[in-house]
Amino acid sequence: MEAGRRSVSGWTVANVVVVLYAMVPVLWIASLSFKDPSTFTDGSFVPRKWTLGNYAGIFTNADFVRGLVNSIGIGLISTFVAIVFGTMAAYAVARLSFPGKRLLIGVSLLIAMFPQISLVSPLFQIERALGLFNTWAGLILPYITFALPLTIYTLSAFFREIPWELEKAAKMDGATPFQAFWQVIVPLAAPGMVTTAILAFIFCWNDFLFAISLTSSDAARTAPATISFFTGSTQFEDPTGSISAAAVVITIPIVIFVLFFQRRIVAGLTSGAVKG
């Protein structure tokens, strides 16, 4: 009884430490975003003078709003394509035997570990030659490419958990392999696909290197890149408030995903990466 109570309080302390670890840096940037510009330099963790002015500022900033639209559009399209193609490939990897399977797994693994910077110079040149530079497609292509290994790994791990017999039963009832896939496996795999889609979207949403290298204007520049170009010329001299408010805004979708899909994200990250 005594030992039990001690370990409960021990875990409570551990929980508090973990929560502080994860939340303090996030709360700090949130606090900064609510500070009145005259109090930026007070060094206080909690705002002494609250304002919503920083948020009003960024949402009247056409570049930032456009950046958000670009981020959402590019992220959703890339995620959708990566999920469709990734599902097909992951199903094949998990269920079918065909030549070149190990090659596909190997190539995906290589791409997952690939240093993105090594693609920046050739893509910069190739995209300028093809007219893809500074367009949505110019970012969507590399995003799909880097999201695919993640999708294939995570989904094939999920697919392996689905009982084979169901598919066999469907085939015995006269379904073609494609019908067995589409009508039996896909509904069972839907939770895994949602998880994978979230992970892929987080990847696209997070990217910065391609976003600043393969764009030159707000035609395709995504929000993280837009933020790094805030100079503050529009709002006093100091971009601190706008940058903080914008940082909070682009963190909100992540917080929503985490709150609603915590279990699935954990399952996705742990199954895909280790079982490979």
Partner: protein, 298 residues
């Protein structure tokens, strides 16, 4: 009858092979087109003098870009800084990640809570978090800078700036490491730990003699992923120092040459060298994996 059945089977196998290839084709095509040709092109660019500001000077110059980069102090400085950041942050992450993995796996209260909050550093946009760290350490503005002696500006001094880059990197990626390690903890059979405990093994002995050896594959995978990821560090350095005071990583150097300097030849050379380094690190790890390499059939 018998022969017909055998034929049907091979027919089925052939259909399965065909389906497998068709299902993989779009994914494989995109991955190969977007990375394959650019890699070749990048090697070709690295063999040329090609500065977009002086396009008429373009010429094939063999390996002399490599000679330029490999004798440049800036490159080697960036290389060692990147290696330092990689080794130190991955080492810290391994220890912290292991503690965090234990907390997430074993906690008897609030397990859902901590599993939820650790996903926030994992998911947050690196650039957003990096600005948080930057302002936290900016004299006058930051709550952390206020804890330092008067007049210190850590982000403008090399040592402290690298330490802050490592801090930002560790904060953001420890949860990912912890999640991978937690998956490894899950493969350790509970009975084995209980048996060891009955035999009088202490907590530490159970960890080093039972848990660690069984977790080795998970640890190696986590280390491989994080090492290669840390080596390409870009966002945190870009926001925190943008490479000033000799704090640039190799990715930052290559970026500055490519996009800032528009020097495609030198930038591509650096890109190729980074790729080669990453490949060497991966090979070393995979030799360490032995049979536990990801992608090998279980």
């Amino acid at each position: 009858m018998n022969g017909g059945k055998g034929r049907a089977l091979t027919e089925g196998q052939r259909a399965e092979r065909r389906l497998g290839l068709w299902l993989c084709a779009p994914a494989a095509l995109i991955m190969v087109v977007v990375t394959g040709w650019p890699i070749v092109y990048s090697v070709l660019l690295s063999l040329q003098r090609y500065d977009l500001r002086f396009p008429e000077d373009k010429a094939w110059i063999g390996l002399s870009n490599y000679a330029t980069v490999l004798t440049s102090e800036v490159w080697w400085n960036a290389f060692w800084v990147t290696l330092l950041i990689t080794v130190v942050s991955v080492a810290i992450e391994l220890v912290l990640g292991m503690l965090l993995a234990f907390a997430m796996y074993r906690a008897i209260v609030g397990r859902g809570l901590i599993r939820t909050v650790v996903l926030i550093p994992y998911g947050i946009v690196t650039v957003a978090a990096a600005y948080g760290w930057k302002y936290a350490w900016t004299p006058g503005t930051g709550w952390l800078a206020g804890l330092l002696p008067e007049g210190s500006a850590p982000l403008t001094e090399r040592g402290p700036a690298i330490a802050i880059i490592i801090l930002a990197e560790v904060w953001k990626t420890t949860p990912f490491m912890a999640l991978l390690l937690m998956a490894g903890l899950a493969v350790v059979p509970e009975e084995l730990l209980r048996a060891a405990s009955v035999d009088g093994a202490t907590l530490w002995q159970r960890f080093t003699r039972v848990t660690l050896p069984l977790m080795k594959p998970a640890i190696l995978v986590a280390l491989l992923f994080r090492t290669l990821d840390a080596f390409r560090i870009f966002d945190n350095v870009y926001v925190l120092t943008n490479g000033s005071q000799g704090t640039g990583s190799v990715s930052i150097s290559a970026y500055h040459n490519l996009i800032g300097g528009l020097n495609l030849g030198i930038g591509s050379t650096m890109s190729v060298l980074i790729l080669v380094t990453v490949a060497i690190i991966a090979v070393v790890f995979i030799i360490g994996f032995g049979t536990a390499a990801p992608g090998s059939e279980r």
